[in-house]
C-alpha cells in the first residue's frame, strides 16, 4: 500500500496549498478535505456532463499493474463551457491526463478536481478551489 501511494501514479501533494475562496454552490468543503490535496495521472474512462456537477473517471495503474478507477467531481457544463471546455472534444475517454484536486472525506478513490493537464500539455480548470461552498473563513455573523 505504501509503495502504491509513493508511486508516480498518485502524488499527495502536501506542499500544494489552496486558497479558500471562490464560487457559490453546494458545499464542496463538506464532502472534500482541503487538507488532503491529490494529484493523479491516468487514463480517462468516462465523463458525465451533467448538472449540477460534472463527474469524470480516471483509471490509475500502480507499479504492480493494478488498476484503480478514481471518481472526480467538477463544475457544471455551463461553467466549463465558459472556461474553454468543449464537450467530447477537449478531453475524451482514452486520453492520458493529470488531475489535481482534493480527496473526499471518506478516503475512497473519490476527489474533487481543480486543474487538469490534458494530453497535449494544456492546463484547464475543471473545478473550484478547496473549501468552496463551506462558508469560508468567517461566518456571516460576528461571534459574540
Amino acid at each position: 500500500m505504501t509503495r502504491w501511494i509513493s508511486c508516480a501514479c498518485v502524488l499527495i501533494a502536501m506542499t500544494w496549498t489552496a486558497p479558500h475562496r471562490a464560487a457559490a454552490h453546494h458545499s464542496f468543503g463538506a464532502e472534500y478535505d482541503a487538507n488532503k490535496p491529490v494529484m493523479i495521472t491516468g487514463v480517462l474512462t468516462e465523463i458525465d456532463w451533467r448538472s449540477p456537477h460534472t463527474f469524470f473517471f480516471v483509471n490509475v495503474t500502480d507499479n504492480d499493474g493494478k488498476v484503480a478507477n478514481w471518481k472526480f467531481e467538477g463544475y457544471p457544463p455551463t461553467v466549463l463551457s465558459r472556461l474553454g471546455w468543449k464537450k467530447d472534444t477537449t478531453m475524451k475517454p482514452g486520453d492520458r491526463i493529470t488531475v489535481s484536486g482534493w480527496r473526499a472525506r471518506d478516503g475512497s478513490n473519490w476527489a474533487h478536481s481543480r486543474e487538469i493537464t490534458l494530453a497535449d500539455g494544456r492546463k484547464l480548470m475543471f473545478g473550484p478551489p478547496a473549501g468552496t461552498g463551506d462558508g469560508g473563513s468567517a461566518p456571516a455573523v460576528d461571534v459574540r
Partner: protein
C-alpha cells in the same frame, strides 16, 4: 501672455487625474426615454472589467490559469473581507453559526432550490441577464434557472403567495433603479452560509449603472423577526459582453444530499 500660458498649463495638469481615471467607453448607455439602460449580461460579485475570460482567469471563478493574478470572486455563501457582520438577534446568530460549523450542508441550494435574493444577484459563478423595457425589467439568472419580473411604478399584488424569489416592483429615482421585494417564503439564504430569514423579509435593492461596465448594487434587508436592525450590503455587477445565459438544470443529477448523508453515516468529520 506668460500668465495665460501658466494658467493654461495648470488647467491641463488639473485635468490629468480625471483623464487618467476615466474608464474607456465609460458613458452610461441610455434608453430612448433617457433612463440608464441596464440591459446586458452581467456577473455579480466582481469588480474586474472585460470579458468573462478576461475577468475570470487565475484563481477567480473557475480561473483559466491565463492570469494567476486575477482576483478571485468571492462566493455567495462566503463573507467578503470588510463586510459588517449580519445583525441577527442572538438566538438567530446562533442558528447562523450552526450552519457555518456544519460547512453549509444544510444549504437550500444543495437541494436545487431557488437561491433567493440577494444571493442570486451577488454570486459570480453564473451570469445573469437584465432585459429592460419602459414598463418592466426582467432578470434571467442562469443559476438554478430562475427569473424575476420587475414591473415599474406598479403595486405588489394583494394575493401574494410566499415564494423563493419574492415579488418585485421597481421605480426610478434619478439614475438609480429602486426595487422593492416582498412576499418571500423562509426557505432561502440571503448572503452567506446560514443567513436564514422569515417570511417577514422585505428587501430594497438599488441598481446604479455608474459607467458602461459597472452597476453598483445595494441591498437593504429588513426582517424584524430575525434582525436587530436592517442589514445593508453592497456589491457590484460587471458587464460581460459575449457571455450567454445558458440552461442549468440542477435537479438533473444532484448527488450531494446523498453524499452528505453517506459521509455523516460513515462518521466522516465534516463539522469545523
Amino acid at each position: 501672455m506668460k500668465r495665460y500660458v501658466v494658467a493654461g498649463a495648470l488647467m491641463v495638469v488639473s485635468l490629468i487625474p480625471a483623464v487618467a481615471f476615466a474608464q474607456p467607453g465609460s458613458v452610461v448607455p441610455r434608453t430612448p426615454d433617457g433612463k440608464p439602460d441596464l440591459t446586458g449580461v452581467w456577473q455579480g460579485g466582481s469588480t474586474v472589467r472585460g470579458s468573462w475570460d478576461d475577468a475570470n482567469s487565475g484563481l477567480g471563478v473557475g480561473g483559466s490559469g491565463k492570469n494567476p493574478d486575477a482576483p478571485a470572486v468571492v462566493g455567495s455563501n462566503e463573507r467578503p473581507a470588510g463586510r459588517e457582520g449580519a445583525p441577527y438577534q442572538d438566538w438567530a446568530a446562533k442558528k447562523v453559526l450552526e450552519s457555518f460549523n456544519k460547512r453549509g450542508i444544510d444549504d437550500p441550494t444543495a437541494l436545487c432550490l431557488p437561491p433567493g435574493v440577494p444571493r442570486s444577484v451577488i454570486l459570480g459563478l453564473f451570469p445573469q441577464k437584465i432585459v429592460q423595457t419602459p414598463k418592466e425589467i426582467v432578470v434571467l439568472y442562469e443559476y438554478m434557472h430562475t427569473f424575476r419580473m420587475i414591473p415599474l411604478n406598479a403595486k405588489h399584488p394583494d394575493d401574494l403567495l410566499a415564494s423563493y424569489m419574492g415579488d418585485s416592483i421597481g421605480h426610478w429615482e434619478g439614475d438609480t433603479l429602486v426595487v422593492d421585494v416582498t412576499g418571500f417564503n423562509d426557505k432561502t439564504w440571503l448572503a452567506g452560509t446560514g443567513t436564514f430569514h422569515s417570511e417577514a423579509l422585505h428587501i430594497t435593492e438599488r441598481y446604479t449603472r455608474v459607467d458602461r461596465d459597472r452597476i453598483d448594487y445595494e441591498a437593504t434587508m429588513d426582517d424584524p423577526k430575525v434582525f436587530t436592525k436592517p442589514w445593508r450590503l453592497t456589491s457590484t455587477l460587471m458587464l460581460r459582453e459575449g457571455a450567454r445565459v445558458q440552461e442549468y438544470v440542477c435537479a438533473e443529477n444532484n448527488l450531494d444530499p446523498a453524499n452528505f448523508e453517506k459521509l455523516l453515516k460513515e462518521g466522516a468529520q465534516i463539522t469545523r
